[in-house]
């Protein structure tokens, strides 16, 4: 695939052209936080950010998603609500690109999930390489950043006054065709500068080493003391925050909500495996009523079972659970403790 240069002065004109063809999603500042949102005004977009507080997962697997509508007239009529909207996400970070690659495998394994996969098929990802790593991120140890090797359609590296643009797919190439005049050829020096930017970024990680592979191995071989789970259980606030910010959490609940009269909609909502009711049955029996069991399974799932199924842990090192966890039992901390044999 080809590489190009995009002068920073052309970024907004380029995205304006993109907006005319497809729905644009990009990072914006919202109450001093960075979030990804649909863009109506190009000037809302910010490129001055480390990463968003919640991953862009919600544009593929929304927190609340109407999957069908029903109407109870003489016969019940059911109408699926599937989004086929074409979208471009600008500014997604490498960790979240790898998060999506994990979700791709999960939602297409066995029974295919049309709601996720259709949105995924209709999106073009413009990944922004992290030249200044975020405080809690450890993508470098999860092999998911600061630069992506796969999964992007276009990948931008900030060279100061311009972006080095890598094309990762046909979709990416087609996006460039929308505004070909803004893109110019690279010269050898650009490649060197890109290399330097990534190298510098890699050297700037302040995060302690997080050995996901070793933790996975210790879990698989049951080399983790029961005391650790007990302590994690004591510290867990059962808020579900870790699940909600995680780019690879997939669990959901499904509920019916009345609209009016005989009409209603079926909605799927993010759910959290650390909440007490997650496994409770209608009769009251709850196989994981103990928080110890729920926390334990969460880490076994993320780190051990995912390797068996997808040959990689589902932690992409975004560090968001470190940011939100009130009990300091985020993935990085737990992995370190498992590795140390606590």
């Amino acid at each position: 695939m080809k590489n190009y240069i995009l002068d920073k002065n052309f970024l907004k004109p380029f995205l304006r052209k993109v907006m005319k063809k497809e729905r644009l999603i990009a990072p914006i500042e919202f109450n001093k936080d960075i979030i990804f949102d649909f863009i109506d005004e190009i000037d809302e977009i910010t490129t001055n950010f480390t990463n968003s507080i919640i991953s862009p997962k919600r544009f593929f697997f929304p927190q609340s998603d109407t999957i069908l509508e029903y109407e109870k007239t003489s016969h019940v009529k059911v109408q699926p609500i599937v989004s086929y909207e074409r979208r471009v996400i600008f500014g997604i970070r490498s960790c979240d690109v790898y998060g999506l690659l994990n979700l791709d495998k999960f939602y297409s394994l066995g029974y295919e999930d049309i709601y996720y996969l259709q949105r995924r098929e209709n999106v073009t990802l413009i990944n922004l390489v992290c030249s200044d790593p975020c405080e809690n991120g450890f993508c470098i140890y999860a092999k998911s950043g600061p630069k992506a090797e796969v999964g992007f359609d276009l990948q931008f590296t900030d060279l100061g006054d311009k972006y080095f643009v890598e094309v990762g797919s046909v979709k990416g190439e087609e996006l460039i065709k929308i505004a070909e005049l803004f893109f110019s050829k690279i010269i050898e020096k650009d490649e060197e500068r890109r290399f330097e930017v990534v190298l510098k970024s890699k050297s700037c990680f302040s995060h302690l080493y997080v050995d996901l592979q070793d933790a996975a191995l210790k879990l698989k071989n049951n080399l983790v003391s029961e005391n650790l789970w007990q302590e994690l259980a004591d510290r867990c606030q059962r808020c579900g925050g870790c699940n909600y910010v995680c780019p690879t959490c997939t669990c959901f609940d499904v509920v019916d909500k009345d609209i009016e009269g005989q009409r209603g909609r079926r909605v799927r909502l993010w759910d959290s495996c650390v909440l007490g009711g997650f496994t409770r049955l209608a009769g009251g029996y709850n196989p994981r009523s103990r928080i110890e069991d729920r926390v334990k399974r969460k880490f076994y799932h993320k780190l051990s079972y995912e390797i068996e199924k997808f040959q990689a842990t589902s932690c992409v090192g975004c560090g968001r659970c470190t940011t939100v966890c009130l009990g300091n039992i985020d993935t990085a901390s737990v992995v370190r403790r498992i590795v140390l044999g606590e």
């Binding site: 999957i67 019940v76 059911v78 997939t250 669990c251 959901f252 609940d253 209608a282 994981r288 079972y305």
Partner: protein
């Protein structure tokens, strides 16, 4: 791409009162093609929509040999089943499925089989028993041991009298009343009535977890191989297709890897939990 979350509409053709707060529903698909194409294995389940109240998993309790419609047996337990109990013949529901692995019917061929059921747990067993009674060489001999809380909780009394023509059927209740002349105590107390060659015997279990655990221990004691003790597990299978995550046990999804597991498999899962 098929939409796996889209239910097919079915109509309630009949409702039978089986026991206290337990009813059997006869369901028939409206769509003619679905009606003829729908097949399943004993032990598989469906996701039933009661529109406005969501979806929940139910074992199919009728035999796959029965065409045109299917049966589910439902105990009033939560908001969806409470609403379902209010529905009438002619009302419409949604069905997705069938899901899950079902019972290993090939493994049961020409074997002695002990069925152990507790309460509403007889529902998936009924599908298998009715199937085996019809299929050629489906089994060698059959014992059906069943326990309910009280006499009025016995699910489908006429099924047991029908089965007793071809199988040895024993019933028990935890708490008896004046009407009850039979056994009192846990269903595992009925096991001494069984006389089989343990090595040539399989047991099929469905009931509350305490019953499954106790029965598994007793069956091991009398010499059944662990891979021949088969249980179907109840979990919160919200989606039925291995996505929502509620029914996981260790690295398995009850909805796609189960709900039927051997005692050996359950022991493996139990290692971590």
């Amino acid at each position: 791409m098929k939409n796996i979350y889209l239910p097919e509409i079915a109509v309630i053709k009949d409702i039978k009162e089986e026991a206290f707060e337990i009813k059997t529903y006869v369901l028939e698909f409206l769509n003619k093609e679905t009606k003829t194409k729908f097949t399943f294995n004993p032990g598989q389940f469906i996701e039933l929509s009661v529109f406005g109240f969501g979806e929940a998993p139910f074992s199919i309790s009728s035999s796959p040999y029965r065409k045109k419609n299917i049966e589910i047996c439902v105990k009033k337990a939560g908001s969806l089943t409470k609403k379902l109990h209010e529905l009438k013949i002619g009302d419409e529901v949604g069905i997705r499925g069938p899901y899950g692995n079902g019972f290993p019917v090939e493994k049961l061929r020409k074997k002695s089989i002990i069925f152990l059921g507790g309460g509403i747990g007889v529902a998936p067993l009924k599908s298998l028993i009715d199937y085996l009674l019809k299929v050629e060489n489906g089994y060698k001999e059959m014992y059906i041991l069943y326990g309910a809380k009280r006499p009025k909780d016995i699910v489908g009394k006429e099924n047991f009298s029908f089965w007793s023509k071809k199988a040895q059927v024993y019933l028990t209740v935890d708490v008896s009343d004046k009407s009850w002349k039979g056994e009192v105590g846990p269903v595992t107390n009925l096991l001494p009535k069984v006389s089989v060659k343990a090595k040539d015997c399989l047991a099929v279990l469905c009931g509350p977890p305490a019953m499954i655990n106790a029965a598994t221990d007793r069956l091991r004691e009398i010499g059944l191989f662990e891979e021949n003790i088969i249980a179907t597990l109840e979990r919160y299978m919200k989606c039925g297709v291995g996505k929502c995550g509620h029914c996981t046990i260790g690295n398995k999804y009850t909805c796609i890897d189960g709900p039927v597991f051997t005692s050996k498999e359950i022991k493996e899962l139990d290692k971590e939990f």
